[in-house]
Amino acid sequence: MKSYLQNVLANAPCDYAEFRYQEFTSTLLVFDGDGLKDVALNSARGGFVRALVNGQFGVASFEDLDRAAEYLEKAVSLAKVKAGSFGGFAPAEVNVDDVEIDVPRPAHRVDLDEKVAVVSKYNDILLGHDRIPSTDTRYRDSHDYRVFVNTEGTAVSVKTPRLGLSLRPLASEGGVVQMAINNYGGIIGFDHVLGREAEVEELAVRAASLLDAEPVTGGTYDVVADPVLTGIFAHEAFGHTAEADDAAQDEKLREIMTLGRRFGSEILSIVDDATYEGHNGYVPYDDEGLRGRKKYLIKEGVLTGLLHDRETATRMAVEPTGNARALDYRHPPLVRMTSTYIEPGDISFDEMVASVPRGIYARRAKGGTGGETFTFTAEDGFLIENGKLTKHLRDLKLQGNLFRTLENIVAVANDFVMPEEGMGGCGKGGQSPLPVSCGGPHMLVKNVQIGGR
């Protein structure tokens, strides 16, 4: 495939061009209150070409590989619709490599009946609970093979086996429906999901216990966030703002995101790390053929870097960071995160809770949206009174302003968890769900708004 695409590129009539080829197979299992609902085996393959002519990108996505040369021409002619201002990429590393990420017993090689048996058993455990009439359990494994070649000589390929299991019991009583979630998976072998019966039992009890929890009273609280919520904050609120595609062409935003500016106290360090193995954000080569790497975005409270693709790096005259990622061959690469996390600190979780006179301990996430004003939904929480966890709370929607919240992170615990990803992913520019990871330690944030009745 590499040499075929390189031949097509050999005399490309443009300033720069690249081909991406992808083969993707997946197995999807969806369960509900009656058990296994959908079994779907999907396979897709296709190509993507991007050409730069006179400062303008033209791109084409296609499924008929024999016609790659024709689509290169199409991309070139689209680029010529109008001349643009982009002067071309700054020189970058040229990579030639083939990576096959190895995991023990990859899920795409496991028989379908074994997968069905394992996940069905877990779903049945959940449904065995009398307050759980339904579930929204999903399992997907996939194998993703990507080839990237460009006119600069880079030619890399990566094979990535992924696995995701999201167990979501829906407890219900008197018109109230509550959901708890256990996520498993990442770039990891199938055996990882075996033997989880006790955890699934605990999950069922947890979901049912939400029916008895008290809806939170809205207001402003000091919040102890668990590692899941810490990760969501690192990704949704800060991470997206640190993606340089907006800042690269927006002077005012660039002023706010100036390197060296202090955003938080010395205890705060935020990292995006494409080399973090075993999780979905592990990206050996990005979709521009650059090596994935570990970058500090905030180090000891100070902004030290943004996330770049080759275009934003060129526009801002910095080194690219290997963060160009495309959902699949139907999409162009965008500046995206990989594994994003907050580094651990010194104090223990118990000390952290004990330091809070009145606040909320919020756990796990059902979702989140980012930007300067971010919003996350926690699975549940506990009221903290005089340093002790008291009432069980539910329906927690956390909101905050990014800049104030970064300043308000007053403690970071010495525990660190990179939560497993399950079925989720990141959405941006119509490309969702992109496999990413996010995590960190427990952290204490002052003055978080919590919505309620």
Binding site: V39, A40, S43, D113, G218, K366
Partner: protein, 437 residues
């Protein structure tokens, strides 16, 4: 033809089979920060096969039409484990309406013309206020979907799709203000510059940040955000959630679930939105479905499988993507208008928020009817006048209460929103707003 071949091969081993085949070409132009950034074309195609064997159903899909063997074997292998599916597939003899799903104006617009529209929009916004950093996107799709099954159904539909979006960002000291407007349809049936003018109109108050106290007030959903308010409603009437008793509306047909002034209709045969079509994802004829009429729950939305579980007939609401078999979902949604204009409703508001853009509305316990979202762009109203923009507010509640005893008014004017909702302005009273600090 590949469809016949797949059906023939699957039919040999399966009791029943259904093939969906789609092909499309999407052309898009994207402007970033005031400049054309990229022109793109996506040529896509694919086939999905549902095989019914031993009373169970399995699904497989592929974009590789060179080798359909894996597709057929995959669907059959999946059927060994799939759900019981003893319902009949449509045989194609039902009556199908004539719904316009193909528009020459959308099909024929050139990339050059799309670029020209983008430039016109940029010029309008940047000459109105040069502080804005502007992105514009114009997309059009031309495609065809064909569904055929072993019961005799074989239907095709040529489709176009067209959408236009303008996104603005303005950054001041620690205030990244962001807003957008867009429209989408099966046809190029809207004026792109009218969207830009409407966007500019809503930006008039963006500079004036005002405080709002935590407390109760009127929450006015602009038509653009009525889909956020309706999301839990549309979820709760989904037959799949009703069938497994996880919806707050399960078992409540015929009951009053909202104020008598509230009527919500689902209608793919009304050609106003991008979900228009004469049949659904399983070939069942599309039809007008009164979901909630004068506050009374009249119908759930079902596909073949959920209707079978519920002991009813499919309402024609099977939705599917290439990689997922059908499941129920809404098409074009209409909320019937009320008596007073939006302007009057705003003028009659003592204290309230006009919600122009919400974020995060789909993350709560939606099947309970819970809505909880952030007001990403909302305007404060005092004594009938808009006084400025509020930041960092959240709100939440149960939508059946919001559309029930707390429904203050529904406007007489409606507007297409998200390309598939025909929505009035909806005013909810006594809404708790949680504000910063």
């Amino acid at each position: 033809m590949v469809v016949e071949e797949i059906l023939e091969r699957a039919g040999r081993k399966a009791d029943k089979a259904e093939v969906i085949f789609s092909e499309y070409e999407t052309t898009s132009v994207k402007f970033k920060a005031g400049e054309l950034h990229q022109a793109a074309v996506i040529d896509g195609r694919g086939a999905g096969l549902r095989a019914f064997a031993g009373g169970r159903v399995g699904y497989a899909s592929t974009t590789d039409l060179g080798d359909i063997n894996d597709l057929v074997e995959g669907a059959l292998a999946a059927a060994k484990f799939g759900r019981k599916a003893e319902y009949e597939l449509p045989d194609g003899t039902a009556e199908y309406g004539d719904v316009k799903t193909f528009d020459d104006a959308a099909a024929k617009i050139s990339p050059e013309a799309m670029v020209a529209l983008g430039e016109q929009a940029l010029e309008m916004i940047m000459s109105a206020d040069s502080r804005y950093v502007v992105d514009v996107e114009v997309d059009r799709t031309v495609g065809r979907t064909r569904i055929a099954n072993t019961a005799g159904l074989d239907r095709s539909q040529d489709r176009t799709g067209y959408d236009f979006a303008a996104i603005v960002r303005r950054t001041a000291e620690d205030d990244i203000f962001y807003h957008y407007d867009y429209d989408a349809s099966v046809a190029r049936d809207f004026d792109e510059m009218a969207i830009v003018r409407r966007l500019l109109e809503t930006l008039k108050w963006a500079d004036d940040i005002v405080d709002v106290p935590t407390g109760k007030m009127d929450l006015i959903f602009d038509p653009a955000e009525v889909p956020t308010l309706l999301f839990p409603v549309v979820t709760c009437v989904n037959g799949a959630y009703v069938a497994d008793d996880s919806s707050a509306l399960a078992g409540r047909l015929g009951e009053e679930v909202a104020d008598p002034r509230f009527t919500m209709i689902d209608d793919a045969t009304d050609g106003f939105g991008f979900m228009a079509g004469s049949f659904d994802g399983e070939g069942t004829p599309a039809r007008r479905t009164a979901v909630i009429e004068k506050g009374v729950l009249k119908s759930y939305l079902t596909d073949l499988a959920t209707a079978w579980r519920l002991g009813t007939a499919s309402t024609g609401h099977a939705r599917r993507t290439l990689t997922q078999p059908p499941s129920p979902g809404a098409s074009n949604v209409i909320v019937e208008p009320g008596e007073n204009t939006s302007a009057q409703l705003i003028a009659d508001t003592k204290i309230g928020l006009l919600l122009l853009h919400a974020a995060g509305g789909s993350m709560g316990n939606v099947r309970s009817g819970e809505l909880s979202a952030a007001a990403a762009y909302a305007l404060k109203i005092e004594n009938g006048e808009i006084v400025g923009r509020v930041k960092d507010c959240i709100f939440g509640g149960n939508v059946f209460e919001m559309l029930g005893r707390r429904l203050r008014a529904i406007s007489s004017d409606t507007r297409r929103s998200e390309g598939r909702y025909m929505a009035p302005t909806v005013v909810v009273a006594d809404q708790t707003i949680t504000a910063k600090g």
